[in-house]
């Protein structure tokens, strides 16, 4: 018996694709991919940029106004001119008001646009994770996936709240200042720019390192969340087995690793600005030296040279700001990258564009040379051929790993066969519309997971338009009225997280009612009543048999009482169908089934010899 389910190996390969370390790539690459995924980022961006530029220009105007006041209103030929001063001051106030207004509108526009874009991105990634069936995995993996739709997207929120506007205004201020510098002296400006030139490859290098480093931070955050989620989900076991010690050690380890990576990524942040600052100062010093030494050749007046030097000094501020913002940008890009990677994982089961409907009523099943193997690993199913007419009650038996669960997954299109065709009601399942599949094919897995709401709502999830009467009817049809009567609030009992306030068996009852309310043409039960007491299980089986008149029913069961009642028993062994026939036929011939049945009788009869 194969111990591993290779399907999960494949899933894990996909999962590791999501967890991989960030490559050394430019921020622009991430940005371009992100823009492709969220083209809405462009919405109204032009106006926003223009407004931001207005705000930036406004800030440049203030020093000019100061100059005006000094030159013309106070120290000019006319001396002190209060009228002119007031006029200029009012004008300046007007500019300040304009800048304030423009910044305000820019901020509002940016927050409106980005919050909507990020909301859509979040929802999209969430949906994609569902389509990948990635979430159906371990506790720790779940924490990682939660990080993808919360923490990683939040890094982008932070960035858009602070960073984005800074990029626009500070770049504008730098460009504007350089323009004025050029106007004073193009030679000195070139000198200043030349001194700054080595910064370009330096910052590129830093940016790539930062991206990798912050990518690792995101990975560590996700790992911590994975461990926290395992700790919370396993709280009961941890308590019962006094396992707090090792769990604490593991948590401590991952919290420390996250901390160390967070701090390590700070090296770039802390070290980068001083380098930039130093280079800028060297350029300032160079401008002083050259400007003074070759003052004649440059044709600069004293006022102009001083003004130029002030401008060089002025440019330091926005450059420092950008250094600050670059850090945030890298965090955001690293988070964005992680999110985009999830979206890049291809979906295996692609829904048809124009799906075909399924016939009404009971559905036939046809497996034609069906084989299945996961991307890695040996085949799980080989050459499975089976024809089941409508309204048949089928029991599927076999050891764990014999392929029976995989077969059920193919029948509900949780996966597609790698060979052969699955036809339900005569239609290739791959071209059946998702709506039709949803309405007519229903699987009840062993895990009776419930959503944290009332029992009534949980049952109603079986069919969107189910009324209260439908729910009541499903309860009655399955003979669960007494059980509902014993619940504190009847059908309005709230079940708690994953259904935890009900017992495992009760959760399975709700899951069954949920399937019943949908009244599907094909019902698959995968160990759906394994935790229910024998009397209830038998009563349910009897009820389901009654209802089977209108549907085809396939039960995967360890309890062979199910097989005894079935029209047809299919025995799986090592990925192939080993035996098919009625219970009586199979018991009569030596083989897997008769051995299983003998053991079952031994387990369930007070006097085995009587059977």
């Amino acid at each position: 018996m194969a111990g591993q389910l290779p399907e999960l190996e494949a899933l894990d390969a996909v999962a590791s694709l999501i967890d991989d370390e960030s490559p050394e790539i430019g921020g622009l690459t991430v940005f371009k991919r992100g823009l492709k995924v969220s083209p809405d980022l462009r919405n109204g961006l032009l106006v926003t940029v223009l407004l931001a530029l207005t705000a930036a220009a406004g800030r440049l105007i203030i020093p000019i106004l100061v100059q005006l006041v000094l030159d013309r209103g106070l120290l000019g030929d006319d001396g002190y001119r209060p009228g002119f001063l007031w006029a200029v001051a009012l004008g300046a106030l007007g500019v300040v008001a304009l800048v304030t207004w423009a910044t305000r509108v820019t901020l509002i526009r940016l927050v409106d646009m980005t919050e909507t874009v990020l909301m859509n991105l979040r929802v999209r990634v969430f949906g994609h994770i569902h389509r990948l069936s990635l979430a159906d995995h371990t506790e720790s993996r779940r924490g990682v996936l939660v990080a993808r739709v919360t923490s990683d997207i939040e890094t982008l929120t932070r960035f858009t709240q602070w960073g984005l506007i800074s990029w626009i205004t500070d770049t504008a201020i730098i460009l504007g200042t350089v323009a004025v510098m050029l106007w004073y002296s193009w030679q000195l400006t070139l000198l200043v720019l030349a001194v700054h030139a080595p910064l370009v490859p330096f910052l590129r290098w830093v940016q790539r390192r930062q991206f990798v480093s912050y990518g690792l931070v995101r990975t560590r955050v996700a790992e911590t969340l994975g461990h926290v989620s395992e700790t919370v989900s396993g709280a009961e076991v941890i308590r019962a087995y006094d396992y707090e010690g090792p769990v604490r050690e593991r948590m401590e380890d991952s919290i420390q690793r996250q901390y160390r990576q967070q701090q390590r990524s700070m090296i770039w942040f802390a070290g980068m600005l001083p380098v930039v600052d130093l280079v800028s100062s060297i350029s300032l010093a160079a401008a002083v030296g050259v400007g003074v030494w070759w003052r004649g050749d440059l044709g600069l007046g004293v006022g102009e040279l001083v003004a130029f030097l002030f401008l060089v000094n002025l440019i330091l501020n926005p450059i420092a700001q950008l250094g600050e913002v670059l850090d945030q940008t890298q965090t955001a890009l690293a988070g964005w990258w992680k999110v985009l990677r999830v979206l890049e994982v291809p979906v295996d089961v692609v829904e048809p564009d124009d799906g075909e409907p399924l016939p009404e009523g009971p559905l036939s099943i046809e497996l034609d040379g069906v084989g299945f193997s996961y991307r890695t690993g040996p085949p799980v199913l080989r050459g499975v051929g089976l024809r089941i007419p409508p309204e048949t009650v089928v029991a599927v038996v076999g050891e764990t790993g014999s392929g029976k669960t995989t077969c059920a997954r193919l029948l509900t299109r949780l996966a597609d066969p790698t060979e052969g065709v699955v036809r339900i009601g005569g239609v290739d399942l791959r071209v059946v519309s998702p709506e039709a599949r949803r309405q007519s094919i229903r699987m009840v897995p062993q895990d009776g997971f419930l959503f944290d709401t009332t029992i009534r709502n949980n049952i109603r999830f079986g069919r969107d338009d189910a009324t209260d009467t439908d729910v009541e009817q499903a309860i009655d049809e399955l003979g669960l009225r007494d059980w509902v009567g014993g619940l504190p609030d009847g059908l309005d009992t709230v079940v708690g997280e994953r259904g935890g306030r009900l017992s495992v068996g009760e959760r399975q009852l709700v899951a069954l009612a949920r399937a019943q309310v949908a009244d599907p043409g094909l019902l698959l039960l995968d160990e759906a009543t394994s935790a229910v007491d024998p009397e209830t299980e038998e009563a349910l089986a009897a009820a389901l048999d009654r209802l089977a008149g209108g549907r085809t029913m396939v039960s995967i069961a360890h309890r062979l009482s199910t097989a005894e009642r079935a029209d047809l028993v299919v025995v799986f062994d090592a990925g192939e169908i080993a035996q098919v026939g009625s219970h009586e036929e199979l018991v009569a011939q030596p083989g897997i089934y008769s051995a299983l049945y003998a053991s079952w009788i031994g387990n369930t009869r007070s006097d085995p010899s009587a059977a």
Binding site: D112, R438, E497, L502, S503, W600
Partner: protein, 584 residues
């Protein structure tokens, strides 16, 4: 609520938050502050030097036409050195501040997760796991966000003092302009704080909700798929995300009022200064040079003011995030720290008048049970009769409303949780395995190789485990090694057996196992039983293993006795012989 008092409250809460971090890592914060001061000093120095360059180098050079090459080099060197000091200040500030922030975050995160481990189990039942994840992640990062601009903001105070003194030297009236500026800043930020607190708190709650929806939905992924409810789940996520966005938009609008206003303050100050200054100059009370200097000083204040504004902006958000964490931390942990130790060997189980209630409803009512030492008792009852709850109570995992549980005459409350869990092994109905090796899952790091091997053999898990890629070292749940339900149950059962407990509780722990394998497990148990066993049983084979049967219905013990005695009861017979009746 009176807004003024709210603001005061917020500021007090904010300073409490900061004090908590300061107390945790005082050296880091102090060093960061030093770096910030270095930066401020060098910035002021830079402005002064630029003035000196003008006065001593540039102007003479143009006026006299002579310039000393040495002077130029000296000046250039000074400029570079000053920037070096400024840069060093930045490095020190950023590095130590991030140390303080990251360490504070780490310490708070550790406290929080430790708390998750210590709180009573009902705490976990009452809270969505996704929300607990949000506390450990985004609430914490938001709570420490305010520490980022802390040192720089504090150094602003120095700048403000220097600026005010300089302005005072120029002229008292000029200083007045500066002095008015700061109360304005305070008033603005108070308006901001009082408006933003509630939406910020709701936004933070929104983050928790999104996380909770994501976790629940991913946990139920298989059900979502089989029900075809992907679209409905996406809608649910969209609704939670939309609520979060809407709150963020409210916060964003308040911020869009506050931030540009803060930016505008120094500009407005400059304009007022120029008007006033010009008037003073025209009266001869000040020189034009004074005026320029004052203007430069105001310009110098602009960036620190922005940072200070950023600090004031972050404060309410961080405070509401920390509030959320503190509310969780406020849960009592009620440790069981009894000192009595349990005797050796199998222990008799005694339960008296046990009543367990969730909310107003009794799950168990006045339950009395006796299982003699070394005996096996089967717990039989219909679905939802309280079997698992009774098992949990015996395992000491829940607090009964009334009644007692004791082992060998020693009450559960008199024994430490550690000792109790060492004596009682509980195999749960739903097996939970850690993302760890089979060895670790079974031995939990304390059992020997031989003990693990024995336990795996009795649980009929040795064969399939040997076939795994790395045998017993295979990590469950990773690299594809996910086990089937029956295999998981067997590994979990081995974990219970490996402890060689004094009392073994099996809660339908073989429900997903093939009947053939189950028979073998039961045979193995029969051979190796030197403990008291209580087993939830559905199948006759399991019941026959027991010396006595406890029949539970609707939370009450309705009968106790041997299987044969109980068969006289119609309800019991109907329940346990249902499979045979099914044949008829």
């Amino acid at each position: 609520m009176d807004p003024a008092s709210t603001d005061e409250h917020m500021w007090r809460r904010g300073s409490r938050l900061i004090m908590r971090s300061l107390r945790l890592h005082p050296t880091m914060h102090a060093t960061a502050m030093l770096g910030a001061l270095m930066y401020v000093a060098a910035s002021i120095g830079g402005a002064v030097i630029l003035g000196r360059v003008t006065d001593d180098l540039v102007v003479p050079a143009f006026e006299d036409g002579t310039v000393d090459r040495g002077d130029i080099w000296t000046m250039m060197a000074i400029v570079v050195v000053v920037s070096f000091v400024r840069g060093a200040g930045v490095v020190v500030r950023r590095w130590f501040l991030s140390l303080a922030e990251n360490r504070t975050q780490r310490d708070w995160r550790r406290d929080l997760v430790w708390h998750y481990l210590d709180v009573p189990l009902r705490f976990h039942r009452e809270r969505p796991t996704g929300e607990l994840l949000a506390h450990a992640d985004l609430d914490l990062t938001t709570a420490t966000m305010v520490l980022k601009p802390l040192a720089f903001s504090a150094s602003v105070v120095v700048l403000v003092v220097v600026a005010t003194v300089t302005l005072l030297i120029i002229h008292p009236l000029v200083a007045l302009v500066g002095v008015i500026l700061f109360p304005t800043l305070v008033i603005l930020s108070q308006i901001y704080t009082s408006r933003v607190e509630e939406p910020a708190a709701r936004a933070q709650q929104g983050v928790g909700d999104v996380s909770a929806v994501a976790f629940e939905s991913f946990e139920g992924a298989l059900i979502v798929k089989t029900l075809g409810r992907e679209e409905a789940e996406i809608e649910r996520m969209r609704a939670a995300s939309a609520r979060l966005r809407d709150e963020r938009l409210v916060v964003g609008r308040i911020r869009a009022f506050f931030e540009p206003s803060i930016d505008a303050l120094p500009h407005v100050g400059s304009i007022a200064l120029l008007l006033l200054g010009s008037w003073l100059v025209s009266r001869g009370s000040a020189t034009p040079g004074d005026l320029v200097l004052a203007a430069v000083i105001f310009g110098l204040l602009a960036t620190p003011l922005r940072v200070f504004g950023f600090f004031l902006e972050e404060l309410p958000r961080s405070v509401v995030a920390l509030d959320r964490i503190d509310r969780v931390m406020a849960t009592d942990i009620e440790p069981r720290e009894g000192v009595t130790s349990l005797p050796d060997g199998p222990l008799p189980i005694r339960v008296r008048h046990l009543t367990v209630a969730y909310g107003p409803n009794d799950i168990l009512t006045d339950v009395d049970i006796d299982v003699p030492a070394g005996r096996v008792a089967a717990l039989v009852g219909p679905t939802g009769s309280g079997k698992s709850t009774l098992m949990e109570a015996i395992a000491g995992l829940l607090d009964p409303s009334s009644g007692t549980v004791d082992l060998g005459g020693i009450d559960v409350d008199d024994v430490s949780a550690k000792e109790w869990s060492a004596a009682v092994a509980f195999a749960f109905q739903e097996s939970f395995l850690f993302t760890d090796s089979i060895d670790q899952n079974v031995g939990l790091g304390v059992r020997t190789d031989a003990e693990i091997a024995d336990a795996l053999a009795v649980a009929q898990a040795d064969t399939f485990v040997a076939e795994l890629t790395d045998g017993r070292s295979t990590v469950v749940g990773e690299r594809g090694t996910t086990l089937s339900g029956g295999q998981r149950q067997r590994v979990a059962l081995a974990r219970a057996l490996a402890r060689k407990p004094k009392v073994l509780l099996l809660d339908d722990a073989t429900s997903a196992v093939d009947p053939v394998v189950e028979a073998e497990i039961l045979a193995g148990l029969r051979r190796s039983l030197d403990m008291t066993v209580m087993v939830v049983a559905h199948r006759i084979s399991t019941i026959l293993l027991a010396d006595s049967v406890v029949y539970l219905d609707e939370g009450r013990v309705v009968a106790t006795g041997t299987h044969d005695e109980l068969l006289k009861r119609d309800d019991y017979r109907a329940l346990v012989t249902a499979y045979e009746q099914g044949d008829a």
